[in-house]
Structure formats: C-alpha cells, structure tokens
Amino acid sequence: MDVAAATKLGAGIAVIALAGVGIGIGNIFSALVTSIARNPSARDQVFGLGILGFALTEAVALFALLIAFLILFT
C-alpha cells in the first residue's frame, strides 16, 4: 500500500477510541442529571465532581486525537 494512504488510514483508525469516550461522557452527564434531579440541593457538590469526571474522560479522547495528529502532521 502507498505510504500516504496508509498514514491517512492509520489516523482514521486511531480515533476509533473516541467512540468509547463518547459513551463515557454520556454516562457521566446522565448520572449527573439523574443525581441532581433526585436531590437538587446536592447540585453544588455533584457538579464539580461531574466536571472533573468529564475532564478526565475527555483527556482519553485527546490522547487518541494527539496520536492521530502526530500520524498526520509529522
């Protein structure tokens, strides 16, 4: 296979990991909405935890994205 084509395919394959991250972030926010709906007074504490979980999960997406960028641009 042509190397240029292979790098493009490789970058595409590298971002398949984003599917898992999408599920993870969806889970976090669904749990956040559920918990705030059940106990609105806990909003302040739970919201910070939710944002922390979002940032930690998003980092996984960025690891994959960074690998794709490195394949494409270096």
């Binding site: 922390l52 940032a55 930690l56 998003e58 980092a59 960025l62 994205l65 960028f69 641009f73």
Partner: protein, 254 residues
C-alpha cells in the same frame, strides 16, 4: 500556518506553531525563548493582580480586589475541601501551580502568542515536581508506614502479589497521566485552530463559492475559541485538584 507548497496548493502545517524561537537581543545566547517570555508575563500578571488587588484593603472591595479575593478563596476552598485542615500548609503550592497553568493556557489563546503548557517538557516538569513533593510529604508524615499505602487495609493477604504491583504502577503512572493530559489538551486545541484556519485559506483560494463556503470554518474557529477558554480554565482546575487529591492521599494514606 498555511504554507504554500511548491505546487501552489496550501498544505496543513499544524505543528510549526509549537516551535521555539529565541527572543530579545540576548535571547539566543541564553536560550531565552518566547515560552520563557510568556512564563515571565504570566507570573507577572498574577503577581500584579494580587499586589494591586490586595492594596486597597477596602471593606467593600472594588473590581480588582474582588477578583484577587475570589481567586484566593477559590483555591483556598479547593485545597481545604480536598486535603482537609492540613490543606492550609499546601495552599501556597496549589495556588502557584493553578495560576501558572491557568496563565499558560489563557495567554496561549491570545493571537500571535505562544502556549508554554503545550510543551511536554513544561508539563512533565510540573508533574514531576508534584509527585516528588507528594512522596516527600508522605515519607515525612508517615515514615516507613507510607509503604502500607500500596496494600489497602482489609484486602485479603493472598491477593497481595496482584494488588501491590497494580498499586505501584498506578502510583508511578500519575505523573505521566498528569503531564500528558494537560499537554495533549493544549496541543489538540491549537492544532484544531490551525487545521480549520487552513481550511479557510484552502477554500478561499478557489472561487466565489469557495469564499462563501469558507465562512463555515471561520464560524467553527470562533466557537472553538470559546470552547478552548473553557478547556483552559478546566485543565488548570483539574491539574490543581488532582494535586490536591494526591496530597490528600499523602497526608491521610487512603
């Protein structure tokens, strides 16, 4: 960003924005690059905010004093909530770390400036500093009992060969994940800016239809700037709060 290839078609050159270049008349002699310049500016801005913000000492704070007090309270509450009463000792460290990272992320969003947190050397140095301080604090607080940290109390003893290596690996991977998270966030954000900006140049170079279609990537870049402002603050917060969680583990051992 978009450099015309010999064929005339612009190509995406997303990583050249992270290149270091010496600045100033002495720059190349002492390796003083734009990253160092931005670090000095960031530290100066934080110092200026705190100095001029805490000068008036008004009972009803003005805008600057309110900003200084809010930032102080925010990090103080974070440190004390996460670490416990001992958090007061570590508050200056967490405050410095939070604002150094925040300034790096935010100053990077100013056009023609540079994001020093987009270099793994900077973030890895910060993460190593955190992990060395955490380990030193834990050893100073607990002495040899610190090593019981790697075997949670209450776990069955026959699981020790499994649990202890996992705990040691997770402890040692902290600086890696801490540094790569921040660095990857910043690099990914700025590469995305460059990619969409290059789309504008590519589309605009074609015809009238292309020029109209180029509004799309411009709009996406405007939205991305807003998103990156959120990410800049969020990543500084995550860096600081993870430092607090690690310090909590060091002080309390689980």
């Amino acid at each position: 960003m978009a450099v015309a290839a010999p064929t005339g078609e612009p190509t995406i050159d997303a990583l050249s924005q992270f290149k270091l270049a010496p600045v100033g008349f002495m720059g190349s002699a002492v390796n003083f690059t734009q990253a160092n310049l931005l670090m000095v500016i960031g530290a100066g801005l934080v110092l200026a905010l705190l100095y001029y913000g805490s000068r008036p000492r008004a009972v009803v704070p003005g805008r600057l004093q309110a900003a200084a007090e809010l930032s102080y309270d925010f990090v103080y509450n974070m440190a004390v909530d996460q670490i416990g009463p001992e958090g007061k000792r570590f508050f200056p460290f967490v405050f410095t770390l939070f604002f150094f990272v925040l300034m790096g992320n935010l100053l990077g969003l100013v056009p023609f400036s540079f994001t020093y947190t987009s270099h793994i050397a900077v973030t890895a140095a910060l993460a190593l500093l955190v992990i060395v301080i955490v380990t030193v604090v834990a050893l100073a607080e607990h002495g040899w009992t610190f090593f019981t940290y790697f075997f949670p109390s209450g776990a069955p003893v026959f699981l020790a060969p499994l649990i202890v290596p996992i705990e040691i690996i997770s402890y040692l991977s902290r600086p890696v994940s801490l540094s790569i998270r921040l660095f990857a966030n910043m690099v990914a954000g700025h590469v995305m800016f460059a990619v969409f900006a290059t789309f504008v140049v590519m589309l605009g170079g074609h015809s009238l239809v292309g020029s109209i279609a180029a509004i799309g990537p411009v709009a996406i870049n405007v939205v991305l700037i807003g998103f990156e402002l959120l990410v800049a603050a969020l990543q500084a917060y995550v860096f600081a709060i993870l430092t607090c969680i690690y310090l909590h583990d060091a002080v309390h051992l689980h």
